[in-house]
């Protein structure tokens, strides 16, 4: 498969000749394309607009008219309650940012290092280690032994490490790094070796600077994984923890009215006046906003990732 620069894959055209003649099938297909793609693109945006719109609606209007894109009655009450006790939401933000930053830096370094070593043709254990890593995608112990390992043997219950550690590496990202490194000629490593550089120095000084687009791609995959991580947090962090990762915070808000009432307890709002529905939406906006604002600028790295990853493994 011939893959051009991933920039072309957003809004790109296949090299097509200038029309010799425009026949009606071309016009039908292009109109069909505009309508179908346009409707699908709108349907991808619509649910987010409902969340945004509802978050700025008064609870009374939601109870009367339901969730809607356009607020029947504009209100920022839900946001006031969310930020009334800013410790909770800011604490969650800090926890998630801390886990994301540390996890991405450490994970990226290990993935890059492993990927490079496993791609070295002169490394005699490369196939054995590659299979050792790949095998974990074929066969796993399942959830229960994993849960017992984390909680009883590693004793990480209620520790942020239970969220941080399991997300550091995936075989998929190591394979992706390997295919990125494959495009760097081995001669570079060899000539550096002749000049007397050690393997680790070659990796650190030569390979890392040459693979920055690959590192950006893999780093963003890891970072997105941590930002959206809720599964391990739900499994291993206890419900009465003060500062929980953002997505777990959102999960608790979405699924438990009691949790919303408790988190609003410190404000001066009567229990019956806590805006249950609009607070779900406001929390969702706060938790997801950064990703939605940020992704259009980095989407080409994710595109690079899928086009590299999809070809092999």
């Amino acid at each position: 498969m011939d893959i051009r620069n991933e920039r072309d894959l957003i809004g790109g055209n296949t090299p097509r000749p200038a029309r010799i003649r425009t026949d009606y099938t071309e016009i039908i297909m292009s109109w069909f394309g505009y309508i179908f793609i346009g409707l699908f693109a709108i349907s991808c945006l619509l649910p987010f607009l409902i969340i945004l719109g509802t978050s700025f609606t008064s609870e009374a209007a939601v109870k009367k008219f339901g969730f809607n894109i356009w607020p029947h009655e504009f209100s920022t009450f839900a946001y006031q309650i969310v930020f009334e006790n800013p410790k909770l939401i800011i604490g969650s933000y800090l926890v998630t940012m801390g886990i994301t930053i540390v996890g991405t830096v450490v994970g990226l370094f290990i993935v890059a290092m492993t990927g490079y070593a496993l791609q070295r043709p002169d490394f005699s254990y490369r196939n054995k280690i590659s299979f050792f890593i790949y095998f974990t995608t074929l066969f796993s112990g399942g959830l229960v032994p994993f849960y017992l390992l984390i909680t009883q043997y590693l004793d990480l219950k209620d520790s942020y490490l239970a969220v941080l550690l399991p997300g550091l590496l995936t075989p998929f990202l190591i394979i992706m790094m390997k295919s990125f490194v494959r495009s760097i000629p081995h001669a570079i490593t060899e000539s550096a070796k002749i000049d007397g550089a050690g393997d680790f120095t070659i990796f650190l000084r030569l390979i890392l600077p040459m693979t920055t687009p690959a590192l950006a791609t893999i780093g963003l995959f890891i970072a997105l994984g941590y930002w959206n991580e809720w599964y391990n947090a739900m499994l291993f962090l206890s419900p009465d923890m003060d500062y929980r990762p953002l997505q777990l915070f959102l999960y608790n808000v979405v699924t438990s009215a009691d949790f919303i009432r408790n988190s609003a307890a410190s404000s001066n709002v009567a229990m019956s006046d806590v805006p249950l529905e609009t607070m779900k939406m406001a929390t969702a906006v706060v938790a997801t906003g950064p990703v939605i604002l940020f992704y259009p600028f980095v989407q080409r790295y994710f595109i690079k990732g899928i086009t590299v990853g999809a070809v092999k493994g």
Partner: protein
């Protein structure tokens, strides 16, 4: 004779040692990853022994009473194993088949659009659902499906139709789950096919045009056959995961305790999760996991065997 025999042995030993010395740093560089997978992937594997015991907390995994295949027998007699397998596999087949059809359609239609700005904006919007957490997916669905406030029932009520109680109607859920899956993955997944179309040789397209092919014929006779190898490879890759369920999607859409929907929404992952967190039946959960791993492994080997026949350069091992 003795010396002559021992020389090759010494040489082998030496070269092994040399290998090790040369690879020492590279081995050290792999060490963090090896340790990681040892702890988080290999260490839990012996825990699957749980499937053959009647687990109790005080005795632990390896001292609880051994019961042989009893857990599996129970899962078969109750029909749980069949139901879980059927749901997991049926959903995955729907995801794979409909997903690929949707991705190919989007890729082909994108290519028919000439306005660059339109393509850029719509592609960016179509990627959006890929970037959000499973928790938010659950909330988005709730916004549309909620009985009291949902958008769907709002529309139905304004048309004087009966509102739908989606969260207690199991027969609706295969549609809801498949549509949500397609909504989330089609835009991002279409990129692979779009990239393949971009690799299409412009001379072939040009030649077809000169021969008088119209747009429909170009798509049917040139673009679709061109995408066929990509489709087959992606299909075979996804076949390997046919027994693996998307826990986040099902769990967040259906909710943790919505027993009314289990008949049509319970997959292997949600069952194992419940047996761990709700029923505390660790042995039963592990029995299902072991079954999933073993059969999943067999499926992967088979899929890989087929890939090897179809296109050897794409086989996994």
């Amino acid at each position: 004779m003795d010396t002559a025999k021992s020389i090759p042995a010494v040489r082998v030993k030496n070269s092994k040692r040399k290998h090790f010395r040369n690879s020492r740093v590279l081995l050290l560089m792999c060490l963090p990853a090896i340790v990681f997978f040892c702890i988080f992937a290999y260490l839990p594997m012996p825990g699957l022994y749980l499937a053959f015991v009647k687990y109790n907390y005080t005795d632990g995994i390896f001292s609880s009473p051994f019961v042989g295949w009893d857990n599996f027998k129970f899962l078969i007699i109750t029909g749980d194993l069949w139901r879980l397998t059927f749901n997991t596999v049926a959903y995955n087949i729907a995801f794979i088949v409909l997903g690929n059809i949707a991705q190919i359609t989007v890729a082909i239609l994108l290519n028919e659009i000439r306005k660059k700005w339109f393509k850029k904006i719509s592609q960016t919007l179509m990627f959006l659902p890929y970037f959000i957490s499973a928790v938010l997916i659950g909330l988005l669905a709730y916004n549309i499906l909620s009985y009291d406030y949902g958008l769907l029932n709002g529309i139905l009520r304004s048309l004087h139709l009966d509102p739908v109680k989606a969260y207690s109607e199991p027969h609706l859920w295969p549609f809801i789950i498949v549509i949500t899956y397609l909504w989330q993955t089609t835009g991002y997944g279409s990129i692979v096919y779009f990239a393949a179309i971009m690799g299409l040789d412009s001379e072939i397209v040009e030649a077809s045009e000169i021969d008088g092919a119209n747009a429909f014929q170009r798509i049917i006779y040139i673009v679709l056959p061109w995408l066929k190898p990509t489709f087959i490879i992606l299909l075979l890759f996804s076949l390997g995961g046919i027994l693996k369920g998307n826990f986040g999607l099902f769990f967040n859409l259906v909710g943790a305790n919505n027993t009314a929907l289990y008949a049509s929404t319970d997959i292997i992952e949600t069952y194992v999760f419940r047996s761990l967190m709700t029923n505390f039946n660790f042995s039963m959960g592990s029995a299902v996991s072991l079954y999933q791993s073993v059969f999943g492994f067999i499926v992967v080997l088979t899929a890989n065997w087929i890939v090897k026949k179809v296109s050897p350069e794409n086989s996994l091992f």
